[in-house]
Structure formats: structure tokens, C-alpha cells
């Protein structure tokens, strides 16, 4: 059987980082994440979380919730094991820590990268943090002056390639 291992790009190293003028992109260590569907307000109240924010919403780095749809949100900083996940009291929970990587986009040119990745007008507020970022589904928020992009973990090599291809960071 032919060796096709060279065809597939190796994922970026855990400490991989792209640097450019006024721009730094790195993958954060695994961030605990839970997808919550159904009675999302009940989940937020039970865990003493603030309201789920929309696109480019400002959140605190520890625990936060991103609104994805009317009855769905992504909660970061909250752990949920697979044994207790599922439907309970009108709330469906799914652990997403392994499924979603979190990229931190820092620096004054972070919004310039956003402008390359999406045609959304950042001056307009949007109830949903979900967006099409460089052709892939993702969720985007602001954390302490940086952007945080939650995206399928398997697409991180592609995104690193795409960002490098823009010439804004290498």
C-alpha cells in the first residue's frame, strides 16, 4: 500500500504561533467547552453565568457563553463529562472540548484579519456569535483586547495555512 502520510498536513504544534506586524495568532491549550441547546437561560442561571453574547461580544476569559442560535449556545470554561451529558430538564448538553479548538488573535491588526476572513460589518451588532470565517463555520468573541475564534479542531491546520497565505502573519 502506498504511503500517503505525506499527503496530509501535520497539525500545528501545540505551541505553534503565527506572528506578523501588529498580529499574533496562537492556539490556546484545550479550553473546556459545552454545546447547550434548549432552555439555555436555565443552564446559564444554574451555573451563575452572564448572558450569552453575540458576534464580537466582550467576555471575560474564565467562563463565558456565546449565542449561536435562538436556542443554542457554546459555553466555555465549564466542564461536562460524557456520562452526565444529554437531555436533562429541557436542556441538551454536549461536551465540545475535543471538537473545538480556540485560536487567540491578538494585536492591533486583529480586526484587519477579521476583515480578510469575513464580509460582515463589525460595526453592526449581531445576536449570534456564529459566522463564516475564511470559509469555515466558527464563533467569534473578544477577550481582553484579543479575538477568540472557536473552530473545528480539524480545521486548525487549514486556518494556519490561510492566515499565512494572507501575508499578515507567518
Amino acid at each position: 500500500m502506498p504511503d500517503r502520510s505525506g499527503f496530509w498536513p501535520a497539525p500545528p504544534a501545540p505551541d505553534a504561533r503565527l506572528e506578523g506586524e501588529g498580529l499574533s495568532v496562537r492556539q490556546l491549550p484545550p479550553v473546556p467547552q459545552v454545546m447547550v441547546s434548549g432552555a439555555t437561560d436555565r443552564f446559564l442561571a444554574a451555573r451563575d453565568l452572564g448572558p450569552a453574547v453575540g458576534l464580537l461580544g466582550q467576555v471575560t476569559p474564565g467562563r463565558y457563553a456565546l449565542r449561536l442560535a435562538r436556542h443554542r449556545m457554546l459555553v466555555a470554561g465549564v466542564r461536562q463529562d460524557h456520562q452526565t451529558a444529554g437531555w436533562q430538564d429541557g436542556v441538551a448538553t454536549t461536551p465540545m472540548t475535543g471538537a473545538l479548538a480556540v485560536l487567540e488573535i491578538a494585536g492591533p491588526n486583529g480586526m484587519a484579519l477579521f476583515a480578510r476572513a469575513s464580509a460582515i460589518d463589525p460595526r453592526l451588532s449581531s445576536a449570534s456569535a456564529a459566522l463564516d470565517f475564511a470559509g469555515v463555520h466558527a464563533a467569534l468573541c473578544r477577550v481582553e483586547g484579543a479575538l477568540r475564534l472557536h473552530v473545528d479542531r480539524g480545521l486548525v491546520p487549514y486556518l494556519f495555512d490561510w492566515i499565512a497565505a494572507t501575508g499578515m502573519a507567518r
Binding site: G54, L55, L68, A69, R70, R72, S118, A119, I120, D121, L124, S125, S126, A127, S128, A130, L131, D132, H137
Partner: protein
């Protein structure tokens, strides 16, 4: 870039949306549906020149909504959320 307005998310670029067909083209129900009715449902489209009423899907949030659009001028009114029973705003 055409901008559509999702009833939940607000204005978003067109590549985040997917066309879902004519508004009001409901699937025929029951065992006695004729071949002509099935053909009408499956294969015939309104394809108007000018004002049209369509179903669109916002792929990032999953919202399915009604959109009034002008196929001539490309003007698009803000999307309207659908009621589950009617399939209409």
C-alpha cells in the same frame, strides 16, 4: 456583495445563506396525491421577474426564514421568521 438580513442575526453577507425554494411550496400530504401535484411540488418553480417570496437558510445559526426579494433590482427586505404551523411569516 449582496447583504441579506437574518431575522435572528441581522445583516450578513450572502455566502452565509442558502436558497430554500419558493415560499408556500408545501410538500403534498396523504396517499392520494396525483403525479401532477407531485411534479408541481418537485419540479416547477415560480421564477418570477421582480418581486418574489422565498425560503432561505442562514447556515451559521440554522435559522430558516422567509425573504421578500426583487430578482430584477436585487433589493431584499429583512427576513421574516417563519411560524412552524404555516410555513409563513
Amino acid at each position: 456583495m449582496q447583504i441579506f438580513s437574518c431575522p435572528f442575526c441581522g445583516p450578513r453577507p450572502e455566502y452565509e445563506f442558502h436558497f430554500g425554494g419558493d415560499l408556500g411550496n408545501h410538500r403534498p400530504e396523504g396517499p392520494e396525491v396525483s403525479a401532477e401535484v407531485w411534479a408541481q411540488y418537485l419540479h416547477f418553480r415560480n421564477n418570477p421577474k421582480g418581486a418574489s417570496e422565498e425560503i432561505w437558510l442562514h447556515m451559521t445559526c440554522g435559522e430558516i426564514f422567509a425573504l421578500q426579494r426583487d430578482t430584477l433590482t436585487m433589493e431584499a427586505a429583512p427576513g421574516q421568521a417563519l411560524t412552524a404551523a404555516e410555513g409563513r411569516p
